[in-house]
């Protein structure tokens, strides 16, 4: 803990503070645009971080995530359209408050609750990440392989309605990860004699394509592109009074508690957390009847929850190298292009970057209060822009940014190709995150599997004899079985209800 404090003291005179502020500002603007999720907002920023110091880059990206979670609530309150999925629950009471002429109050509650949730999430992140990664020095290739399998096992819970399609997407990701030079023999695989493919396909390219390009393609097919929201520029953020502050303390606590659990659990995410928080806040409220009709508690709970998740979702990513959400996956991509491998060894080799990230998130949460208050006018202007112009500029940013990563037009083409793949996946209702997980973990799984077998002369019992590997594989099995049971239960439930009604 002391080293975090020392880092924080030194941090105040480094470029990390402006990075945290800039990330939050970018995140709020991106989150405020309906259709642009936090992960896309982060992905658009990744190419700019390429030439930066790794510590500054990860703070910039993580701060963007924090800002985007608040930004999503701005259109949710002002135009009844959530800027992010996680802000969908905020629409229910936030938009009602706006219709009652209380938009300023709703925005203030959202901002303040996001700050409270973010701070609680940060405490959980700092105290939970380190113990999880304390096994760092004991990890063998067998254990790393098992860790990769544990990561892949969460595909079951990321697959949404169709487990089968989720697993197929995961296998596709593993196939993509096999492109490039073989990790043991050095033979080129699936490179089609292209030198650009020798090092494999960088996960960040896959993410830029699957998130940013796919969203552009998707948006271009939606009607109402010319429509722009008409908003008054007089809207301001008004922080809650003392009486209101006391009233929303309980829903904030509920939201933060749920956000903590949902964030740490792989595959849950901010959307589920915010709806659960809304529901529980209503259950425990003394003014239940106000929910759905402009209740401040109905804004406080989901906003506290999704900002808590913005921090706690980083626990499995930082400690085990397992991205449990789209945004965590993009942040992982940001780590990787700077040569930082999240997971157990991050605490050994790059403790300074990690402590800087914790301190950066602290500043980002405070910055959210300041920037969120000041940025309202540009946000209103941005939300009111016609979509064709916004899309054109985002497209220009994508092609310029991807080229900037390795100054290669081939990679721009790859990102476009993955955009087309992502669009096809959406068309066939195939979840995207399992594919990303496969790409991120594929190399780790294969290289360590084969190294472990080389070290044990081909004996597969090495994965059982190694205690860490054994327990990680056991956890993976429990996770898969648990998810399967949930899926089967979910699949049977409607038919049972149908039986009862017929």
């Amino acid at each position: 803990m002391m080293d975090v404090l020392y880092t924080f003291a030194g941090f105040l005179i480094t470029p990390l503070v402006p990075a945290a502020f800039a990330g939050v500002a970018w995140g709020i603007l991106g989150g405020a645009l309906p259709g642009i999720s936090p992960s896309i907002t982060m992905a658009l920023l990744v190419p700019f971080t390429y030439g930066m110091d790794p510590g500054v880059a990860v703070v910039l990206l993580a701060s963007t995530y924090v800002g985007a979670e608040y930004g999503g609530s701005i259109p949710a309150i002002l135009i009844g359209t959530p800027g992010t999925n996680a802000a969908a629950a905020t629409v229910i009471d936030g938009y009602k408050m706006k219709q009652q002429g209380r938009a300023d109050e709703a925005l203030g509650i959202s901002l303040y609750s996001g700050f409270v949730g973010g701070m609680i999430g940060l405490v959980v992140l700092v105290f939970l990440t380190r113990p999880l990664s304390s096994l760092a020095l004991a990890f063998t290739p067998a254990a790393y392989f098992a860790l990769g399998i544990l990561g892949l096992s969460i595909i079951a819970s990321l697959s949404g309605e169709s487990l089968l399609k989720g697993v197929i997407a995961g296998v596709l990701g593993l196939m993509v990860a096999a492109i490039g030079t073989d990790p043991v023999t050095g033979i080129n695989r699936f490179t089609f004699d292209s030198p650009e493919l020798l090092a494999g396909i960088a996960p960040i390219l896959v993410m830029m394509g699957l998130y940013a390009v796919t969203e552009l393609i998707e948006q271009s097919g939606k009607p109402g592109l010319e429509a722009s929201a008409t908003l008054t520029s007089r809207t301001r953020v008004r922080f809650p009074s003392r009486a209101l502050w006391r009233r929303i303390a309980r829903p904030q606590a509920i939201g933060s508690a749920i956000g903590t659990v949902e964030g740490v659990m792989p595959g849950s995410g901010g959307t589920i957390a915010s709806f659960l928080a809304y529901n529980e806040a209503r259950r425990w409220s003394s003014q239940k009847e106000e929910f759905g009709h402009g209740s401040p508690e109905g804004v406080a709970a989901p906003e506290a929850a999704n900002n808590t998740v913005a921090c706690t979702a980083l626990v499995p990513m930082l400690s085990l190298g397992i991205p449990s959400s789209n945004s965590a996956a993009v942040l992982l991509g940001g780590f990787l292009i700077h040569g930082l491998s999240p997971g157990p060894m991050l605490f050994v080799r790059h403790l300074d970057v990690l402590n800087g990230l914790f301190a950066g998130l602290l500043v980002a949460n405070v910055a959210m209060l300041i920037v969120g208050y000041l940025i309202m006018t540009p946000c209103l202007w941005l939300v009111s822009r016609p979509k064709p112009y916004l899309m054109a500029f985002i497209y220009a940013l994508v092609v310029s940014g991807v080229y900037a990563i390795e100054t290669s037009l081939f990679q721009v083409g790859l990102a476009l190709a993955f955009g087309a793949l992502g669009y096809a996946m959406r068309y066939f209702t195939v979840p995207v995150l399992p594919l990303v997980l496969g790409v991120v973990l594929g190399y780790m799984v294969e290289s360590n599997y084969r190294r472990a077998l080389v070290l044990s002369s081909g004996n597969h019992m090495t994965f059982v004899d190694d205690r860490i590997a054994f327990w990680l594989l056991a956890f993976a099995l429990v996770f898969v079985v648990g998810s399967l049971v949930r899926h089967v239960g979910r699949a049977r439930r409607p038919s049972r209800q149908h039986d009862l009604t017929v």
Partner: protein, 156 residues
């Protein structure tokens, strides 16, 4: 044809192609017990199995009503229309080695605005030119990231 059926068939074809490519990988004296072909072949087997399950599961759903959610009629229009935006990107990639970054980017911005039915050719042109210059200043001048220069340096 239901979407799930088409998806299953596409994945089955992909698994076949991937397997053939994996099987044609050269052997090496340095090969370990698994070899460079090992896991790719396993992935192809798994994908083929899952694809077959997907195809089988989609078969009972094939009914007259299912055609409505299939690949015909308006839905065909619905899925190809957005791909125009992708073609604009392909066009950008084609011309940028010759026209250079700023001009090609202006073309990309202009084409995207017009494709999305953005108002007025002149206004779109002004926005595209301003945008391209802005991005050139940002990437090339401010961040120092070289973007494709095109044929212009060789002409002057």
């Amino acid at each position: 044809m239901s979407r799930d059926f088409v998806f299953g068939c596409a994945m089955l074809a992909l698994s076949g192609g991937y397997y053939l490519m994996a099987a044609s990988l050269p052997q090496s004296l340095l090969d370990d017990a698994i070899g460079p072909q090992g896991l790719p072949k396993a992935y192809a087997y798994v994908l083929a199995t899952l694809s077959l399950i997907q195809i089988i599961r989609s078969l009972p759903r094939r009914s007259p009503g299912a055609a409505a959610s299939g690949l015909r009629g308006n839905h065909l229009h619905a899925w190809w229309r957005p791909l125009g935006i992708l073609l604009i990107g392909v066009g950008y990639l084609t011309v940028v080695p010759w026209l250079g970054y700023t001009l090609s980017l202006a073309g990309l911005i202009f084409a995207t605005i017009r494709y999305q039915r953005g108002e007025g050719v002149w206004r779109a042109g002004v926005v595209a030119t301003t945008g391209a210059v802005f991005f050139w200043l940002l990437f090339v001048r401010l961040l120092g990231i070289p973007q494709p220069a095109g044929l212009w340096p060789s002409l002057f």
